[in-house]
Amino acid sequence: MDARQTVSTEHHFLHSPQRIRTLLALFGAPGAWVMQMALTPPIAAYACYPHQFPLPVPLWPGLTAILATIGFVCLAGALFSGYIALASWRSLARYSKDASNKQLPFQKDEGQARFLTMLGMMSSFVFIVAILFNTFAVLSIRSCSAWI
């Protein structure tokens, strides 16, 4: 066999703009969840325990609204990521139904696009649920500890 047939300069996966869509679908929702986790507990902690002593009420009256806003913004980001993942999946599905299409993306890239798009959809689903849980967790309790 001629090595030239096997060693190729073409790397089919992650061509722009599909690259950006795939990365967004994969990491958008987890990134939004990380953002929510990185912002909400520290803000809540500072509002309720700014120095050496805990407060019975938050430092800022609008703390719940601030935390809820963070939650909804992160949720919007995650939903957008999920939408991109779903759109990519549907686009792949349309290609696969078109029997006349000689350039099926997942034949050309040996199934990588389909795999990564599916990962993106699942990832978006899990982290949308995680953000929803966190947002409900913020809204369903009083901001500062009642027991200290």
Binding site: D2, A3, F13, C48, M122, V126
Partner: protein
């Protein structure tokens, strides 16, 4: 469009080379030459200098199992002490040291190293490579692990072992309440062990993204590889936190820093945050590769591919990421604001979603397959049952009000043992039964195997399930004895009996290993008719792994043609591939789509990893003994050994493939 996922560098013409393609017949002179290139020198020289991933993997496994046995014996001593009320088998201080060393041994010296053993041995074989990305770093990782383990036991015979629990809470572990060397040994030992874990993790990450056989695209990677990759990435974020925590504690104890000293505005809770930011991800680090073992090996005994490969791969990664957002559930009783408790409780519940996805995938694989009830299958099926029980009690403790009731009781001890033994030890023992033929060329006894499984399974549940009841009855953790009027007598006696039955099961397993190494039936290359690449080579594998670098066309290269709908248009090429034999060579591929990029010149065996490991470990001994001259000398020797290791060598210049994206590097080791 000509975009690639490999970096573009200027080609250095003298380093350019087109690799030849061809076959190497078994028993041919070319194969003998290849064997000569990759073999390790016999005797003690080879023993100290080898960088063969298979040897290092077996060393990890053997060392980790020795630590498992030591930790298990410690547990049996603890259970004798707790078998009845008002026992005086151990003194309180002995009990403290034993339960601390039991935890330290099992969690740090057994649970991850044993998985590193499997991954070290199997990764290049699973990925179609000839070695790990950084063979010498791999050897260093093992030597430091071994020396760190010995270091942490250095004060045990003197009755000065770590005694503040494996989580080592301040202020009890601080200089005021713990004046002996106990905690210093633990603190320095953990920093030392952190070096081993970090370099090992870097090696795994680079190996996955650089060393896969051509055609092993990112969607064809075995789940074990996903599990170890995820755990390795997590280690790179988690280990710095715990190394920092132990270093700060050592500074508090030795030079009078006040990081955790509340009397001088230090923060005891800082310790808990730093420790559990590491500690909870660590739980997933020690279970995800084990889950990967089951995901890859269980389908062999169900005679069908894993159901939901993509979902399980995603579940692995999602579990790890979510695992970084749940550490505060170890701190629910510390008085943190309710918002924090609520959010971390919510995240702790969400983590059950990806875990459940994996469980349903395994159950569906068994349900839709045709199970063959061999010993490895029994261990993997048992693992699924224990995973469910351990997972359920985990979700219970994610609820803040219930956690307050259960906190610091034996319920938590039961939960963590179901998680750590159930999800680690059972898959690991099943994996030994599964891969033993590959490691040794011999089968293990099925009869003894089934005896070991049922004894371990019954003993485990008899030993650890009653701990849930003890916890619900209010029995606190870490007490060295209890009065008879508390109503805990029966559950503790049953637990002790169960733990001894479990130990007998482990003993039967070890006897089986020893007998089978010498007298087991001969195994062929693929005795289980398994689908993955490691079974394509002989048992045990040759030093070079693959005579030619294979080209992979599916997720189940050895089951091609049997699975409906799986890439029928192309076939994996195992016999014909790249001939790389101008010294130790293997193929470097692009990170995502595994296209050939570079011929990697792999380093020869070397003493330097051993010497660096030895000198660095002795440096820590110097710190422990406050011998600053000795410490400085060891630091100098470490630097000298490192310089020798890193010295540029012309023969390690990397060869680019003329038609691949250019990537040239010189010197160093590996990619």
């Amino acid at each position: 469009m000509a975009a690639t996922d490999a970096p573009q560098y200027r080609i250095d013409p003298p380093l350019e080379r087109i690799p030849e393609m061809g076959r190497i017949p078994a028993g041919s002179a070319i194969e003998a030459r290849l064997e000569k290139i990759w073999e390790t020198a016999p005797g003690w020289r080879g023993w100290l200098s080898t960088v063969d991933h298979k040897t290092i993997g077996v060393r990890y496994l053997v060392t980790a199992f020795l630590f498992l046995v030591i930790g298990g014996i410690e547990a049996l001593f603890l259970r004798i002490q707790l078998a009845g009320p008002d026992m005086a088998f151990l003194t309180p201080e002995q009990y403290n040291q034993l339960f601390t060393m039991h935890g330290v041994t099992m969690i740090f010296l057994y649970a991850l190293p044993v998985l590193s053993g499997f991954s070290n041995y199997l990764w290049p074989l699973l990925l179609g490579s000839r070695d790990m990305a950084f063979p010498r770093l791999n050897a260093l990782s093992y030597w430091i692990f071994l020396f760190a383990g010995l270091f942490m036991y250095i004060s045990f015979p003197l009755g000065q072992a770590p005694n503040a629990g494996w989580f080592n809470y301040v202020p009890f572990s601080g200089p005021i309440y713990n004046t002996g060397p106990n905690i210093d040994v633990f603190a320095l030992g953990m920093v030392l062990l952190g070096i081993s874990t970090t370099v090992g993790s870097i090696n795994f990450v680079v190996t996955l993204f650089r060393m896969r056989a051509p055609g092993m695209t990112i969607n064809r990677v075995p789940i074990l590889v996903w599990g170890t990759l995820t755990a390795s990435v997590a280690n790179l974020f988690a280990i710095p936190a715990v190394s920092l925590a132990f270093f700060l504690l050592w500074l508090d104890r030795q030079i009078g820093a006040h990081f955790f000293d509340v009397a001088n505005n230090g923060q005891p809770l800082l310790w808990q945050h730093l420790f559990w930011i590491f500690g909870h991800p660590w739980v997933y680090v020690v279970v995800l590769p084990a889950m990967g073992i089951v995901s890859d090996a269980l389908p062999t005994f169900c005679r069908r591919p894993l159901v939901g490969y993509t979902a399980v791969a995603l579940a692995t990664m999602a579990t790890m990421l979510l695992g970084f957002g749940v550490w505060v559930h170890h701190m629910f009783a510390t008085g943190l604001p309710t918002v924090a408790l609520s959010i971390f409780g919510a995240a702790s519940m969400v983590i059950s979603i990806p875990s459940a996805v994996a469980v349903f995938a395994w159950i569906a694989t068994i349900w839709l397959g045709k199970p063959v009830f061999k010993t490895p299958f029994l261990f993997f099926a048992g693992f699924v049952a224990l995973f469910i029980i351990g997972g359920m009690s985990g979700v219970m403790t994610a609820a803040v009000p219930l956690d307050w009731q259960l906190n610091e009781t034996y319920f938590i001890v039961a939960h963590l043992h179901y998680v750590l033994l159930g999800i680690n030890v059972f898959p690991v023992v099943g994996a030994i039964y599964y891969w033993f033929p590959k490691f040794t060329g011999r089968m293990m006894s099925e009869k003894l195997g089934k005896w070991s499984f049922w004894t371990m399974f019954i003993g485990f549940n008899a030993g650890f399930f009653p701990m849930h009841i003890a916890g619900l009855l209010g029995m606190p953790r870490r007490i060295y004895t209890y009065p008879s009027r508390m109503g805990w007598d029966e559950v503790n006696l049953i637990t002790t009996v169960g733990s001894f039955i479990f130990a007998v099961g482990v003993l039967i397993f070890l006897v089986n290993v020893v007998l089978s190494v010498k007298r087991g039936a001969r195994a062929g290359a693929n005795p289980w008719d398994a689908p993955t690449l490691e079974w394509a080579v002989s048992s045990p594998p040759p030093a070079y792994n693959f005579a030619t670098i294979p080209t992979i066309a599916s997720r189940h290269p050895l089951w091609e043609g049997r699975i409906e709908g799986e890439e029928e248009h192309s076939r994996t090429k195992l016999e014909e591939g790249y001939l790389l034999m101008r010294g130790r060579e293997t193929l470097g591929t692009s990170p995502i789509d595994a296209k050939p990029v570079v011929i990697l010149k792999m380093p020869e065996d070397s003493y330097t990893p051993f010497l660096v490991g030895l000198f660095v470990s002795l440096l820590f001994v110097g710190l422990l003994l406050h011998s600053w001259t000795f410490t400085a000398l060891m630091a100098a020797l470490s630097c000298a050994a490192l310089s020798s290791w890193m010295w540029p060598r012309r023969k390690l210049g990397q060869r680019t493939t003329r038609h691949g994206p250019a990537s040239a590097g010189r010197g160093g080791e590996g990619p």
